[in-house]
C-alpha cells in the first residue's frame, strides 16, 4: 500500500511541471480566443443582429401601433407556430415609381459627381506626386486638412456661397451680370457641388497613393522608346493608375449614393435621394417596414458590389 502510494506521489511530482506547462500553454491559446471574441461579439451584437432586425421588419406587415408593424411569429390557436412573411413592402416599392425614380436619381447624382471628382482630382493627384519635396507635403496637408473639419460645417460653408443672397449671387449682381439672384441653392446644382466639395479628398488620396508607387522610370522608358507625352499618359500612366481610379471612385460613389446631409441641406425639397427618402419614411411617415425595405434594397445595390469588388481585389493580391 505504502509503496504504491509513494510511486503515485513521485509520479505526481514528476508530472507537476508538465501539468503547469500544459496549463500555461492552454492559457496562451485561450488568450487568443479572448482577443478574437471581444470584437467578434461586439460586431455580432451591434452590427449583424441589427441588420437581421431590419431584414425581419422589412418583411413585416405595417400597422398603426407601437412598434408600427405586426409581429411575424404568432402562436396560432392550435399551438402551431405561424410565421407570416409579407413581401408587400417590396412590392410596394416596386409599384410606386417614386422609389424607383429616387433610386435612379441617387445613382445618377452620385455617378456624375464621382466623374466630376475624378476629372478634378486626377490632375491634382498627379500634380502633387510630381511636386518637389517641401511643396509636396504642404499640398498633401491641404488635401487632408478638410477631413478634420466637421462635415456638417463644410456643407454649411457652401450654403453661404450658393444662397440666393449668398456670395456668388451678390458678386454677380455687383458686377452687373444679373439683376435677380439665380437659384443655386436648393437645386440639383448645389447637390453636385456639395458632393464634389466634400468628397474630393477621398478621390485624391487613393489616386495619390497609387501614383506615388509608380516608378518614374516607366514613364522615362516609354519616352525613351519614342512615346510622346500624350501617348505615354494613355499607354502607361493611365492603365497603371486604374486601381487608384477604381478605389477613389468607390470611395466617392458609395457614400454619395446613401448621402443624407447634402441633399437635405443643399438640395432642399427638390432633389430626391434615397438616404433622405429613408429618413422621411422612418421619421415623418413612421412606416418602419417600408423604411427597412428601402434599406435592404439600398444595401443590395451598394454594399454587395463593394464586397464583391473587395473579394476580387483580395484574390488578385493572393495571385
Amino acid at each position: 500500500m505504502i509503496n504504491t502510494n509513494q510511486v503515485g506521489n513521485s509520479e505526481l511530482v514528476a508530472a507537476g511541471p508538465a501539468i503547469i506547462k500544459r496549463l500555461s500553454r492552454s492559457l496562451q491559446h485561450r488568450w487568443k480566443s479572448i482577443v478574437i471574441f471581444i470584437p467578434y461579439f461586439w460586431l455580432f451584437l451591434f452590427f449583424l443582429t441589427p441588420f437581421f432586425i431590419v431584414f425581419k421588419i422589412s418583411l413585416a406587415e405595417p400597422a398603426i401601433a407601437s412598434p408600427p408593424f405586426l409581429p411575424m411569429i404568432e402562436w396560432a390557436d392550435e399551438g402551431i407556430l405561424r410565421i407570416k412573411l409579407v413581401f408587400e413592402n417590396f412590392v410596394y416599392l416596386w409599384e410606386d415609381d417614386l422609389y424607383f425614380k429616387t433610386y435612379l436619381n441617387s445613382l445618377k447624382i452620385s455617378s456624375i459627381s464621382t466623374l466630376l471628382c475624378l476629372l478634378l482630382g486626377y490632375p491634382m493627384a498627379y500634380a502633387i506626386v510630381r511636386a518637389r519635396h517641401p511643396y509636396k507635403h504642404i499640398l498633401l496637408m491641404f488635401i487632408i486638412l478638410p477631413f478634420w473639419i466637421p462635415f456638417l460645417l463644410r456643407v454649411y460653408s457652401l450654403m453661404g456661397l450658393l444662397a440666393d443672397r449668398g456670395t456668388i449671387n451678390n458678386l454677380l449682381i455687383y458686377l452687373g451680370f444679373i439683376d435677380e439672384p439665380i437659384r443655386l441653392l436648393y437645386a440639383p446644382f448645389a447637390v453636385y457641388v456639395g458632393i464634389v466639395y466634400t468628397y474630393l479628398p477621398f478621390m485624391i488620396l487613393p489616386l495619390y497613393a497609387n501614383m506615388e508607387k509608380l516608378d518614374a522610370s516607366l514613364r522615362e522608358a516609354a519616352a525613351d522608346l519614342g512615346a510622346r507625352p500624350v501617348a505615354t499618359f494613355i499607354t502607361v500612366t493611365l492603365p497603371l493608375t486604374t486601381p487608384g481610379i477604381i478605389a477613389g471612385s468607390l470611395l466617392v460613389f458609395i457614400p454619395a449614393t446613401g448621402e443624407f446631409i447634402i441633399p437635405d441641406l443643399l438640395g432642399g425639397g427638390n432633389v430626391l435621394m434615397i438616404g433622405r427618402l429613408l429618413w422621411d419614411e422612418f421619421t415623418a411617415n413612421h412606416d418602419w417596414p417600408v423604411a427597412s425595405a428601402v434599406a435592404i434594397i439600398l444595401c443590395i445595390v451598394l454594399v454587395l458590389p463593394m464586397m464583391l469588388y473587395q473579394r476580387t481585389q483580395g484574390k488578385q493580391v493572393e495571385d
Binding site: 487568443k32 478574437i36 432586425i53 486638412l145 460653408s157 464586397m307
Partner: protein, 281 residues
C-alpha cells in the same frame, strides 16, 4: 520641353482651382463670422458679437460637452477593440468564422450611414422591449453606435500597419524566450502604437462628425453638437454657426501646423542621424 511646360502649367492651374474650390467657402465662412449684420452675406461692419452669443449659449455648451464626452469614450473603446480585431485578422491565421469576421469589419466602412443608424435604432428598440435595456436612448446608445463603426476604421489601420510589418520581429522575440503575450506587450504594441494613435484620432473625429447615426439613436434631451448645428442651419444661414465653424477651423489649422512642424523637425533629426552613421561606416 515645350510640351512638358504646357502640361505642368495645366496641372498647376487645375490644382490651384481645386484648392481654391476647397478653401474659398471656408475662408468666406470665417470672414462672415465677424460680420455685425444678422444676415450672413450682407456686410454690416466688424463685430465679435456672434462669438459672445455662442459662448453665452448654454445649449451650445451642453452639446459641446456631450459630443466631446461621446467622442472620447468612443475613441478609447474603438481603439482598443479595433486593435484587437486588427491583430486577430493579421496574426492569428485561420480561425472559426474568420470570413464572417472579415465581412463584419469591412461592411461598416461601406454601409450608408442611414442604414447603420436605422438598424441600430431598431436593435435598441427591440432590446428595450425584450430585456428592458437600454431604458432610454442618449449618451450610451450614441456611444455604442459610434464605437461600432469607428472600430472598423481602427481595425483597418492596424491591419495595414501589421501587414506591412515583417513577422520576423515577433518571431525573434519568441526565439529569445518571450511567450506570446510578452511578445504582444514588448514588440507588437510598441510597433503599432502610431497606428493606434492615428486610430484614436480618427475615431474621435468620426464621432464628433456624425450627425445621421446619432440622430437615429439619440433620445430626448441628448443633443450632440452636430444635431444642434443641423437643427439650426436647416432653416438657413446663421451667423453664430459661422462663429462656431471658425473656432473649429482655427483649432484644426493650428493642430495641423503644429503636427507638421514636429514632423519636419523629426525628419531633420533623422536625416542628421543617418548622415552620422553613414560617415562612421
Amino acid at each position: 520641353m515645350h510640351n512638358t511646360g504646357q502640361r505642368s502649367r495645366f496641372l498647376i492651374t487645375v490644382t490651384c482651382f481645386g484648392l481654391a474650390f476647397l478653401y474659398i467657402p471656408m475662408a468666406l465662412l470665417v470672414f462672415y463670422s465677424f460680420n455685425y449684420s444678422k444676415i450672413v452675406p450682407v456686410w454690416g461692419g466688424f463685430s465679435t458679437r456672434w462669438y459672445t452669443k455662442l459662448f453665452e449659449s448654454e445649449e451650445v455648451w451642453s452639446a459641446v460637452i456631450l459630443s466631446f464626452k461621446i467622442a472620447t469614450v468612443t475613441a478609447c473603446f474603438a481603439t482598443l477593440m479595433g486593435t484587437l480585431a486588427g491583430l486577430a485578422l493579421v496574426r492569428f491565421g485561420q480561425f472559426k468564422g474568420r470570413t464572417l469576421f472579415t465581412g463584419m469589419i469591412t461592411a461598416p466602412l461601406v454601409m450608408p450611414e442611414v442604414i447603420t443608424g436605422l438598424s441600430l435604432l431598431l436593435l435598441f428598440i427591440t432590446l428595450g422591449d425584450l430585456i428592458g435595456w437600454p431604458e432610454r436612448r442618449g449618451f450610451t446608445t450614441i456611444t455604442i453606435a459610434h464605437i461600432t463603426f469607428s472600430m472598423a476604421y481602427v481595425a483597418i489601420i492596424i491591419q495595414s500597419r501589421l501587414a506591412g510589418m515583417a513577422q520576423d520581429l515577433e518571431e525573434a522575440a519568441q526565439d529569445l524566450g518571450a511567450k506570446p503575450f510578452r511578445v504582444l506587450i514588448d514588440i507588437t504594441v510598441p510597433l503599432i502604437a502610431p497606428g493606434m494613435v492615428a486610430g484614436w484620432l480618427l475615431s474621435f473625429t468620426l464621432s464628433l462628425d456624425d450627425l445621421v447615426i446619432a440622430s437615429f439613436v439619440t433620445g430626448p434631451g441628448a443633443v450632440t453638437l452636430p444635431i444642434l448645428i443641423y437643427s439650426r442651419v436647416r432653416l438657413g444661414l446663421r451667423p453664430d454657426i459661422n462663429a462656431l465653424a471658425t473656432i473649429f477651423i482655427i483649432v484644426v489649422a493650428t493642430a495641423a501646423f503644429v503636427a507638421w512642424w514636429i514632423m519636419l523637425r523629426q525628419q531633420k533629426k533623422r536625416e542628421l542621424e543617418m548622415q552620422m552613421s553613414s560617415e562612421e561606416g
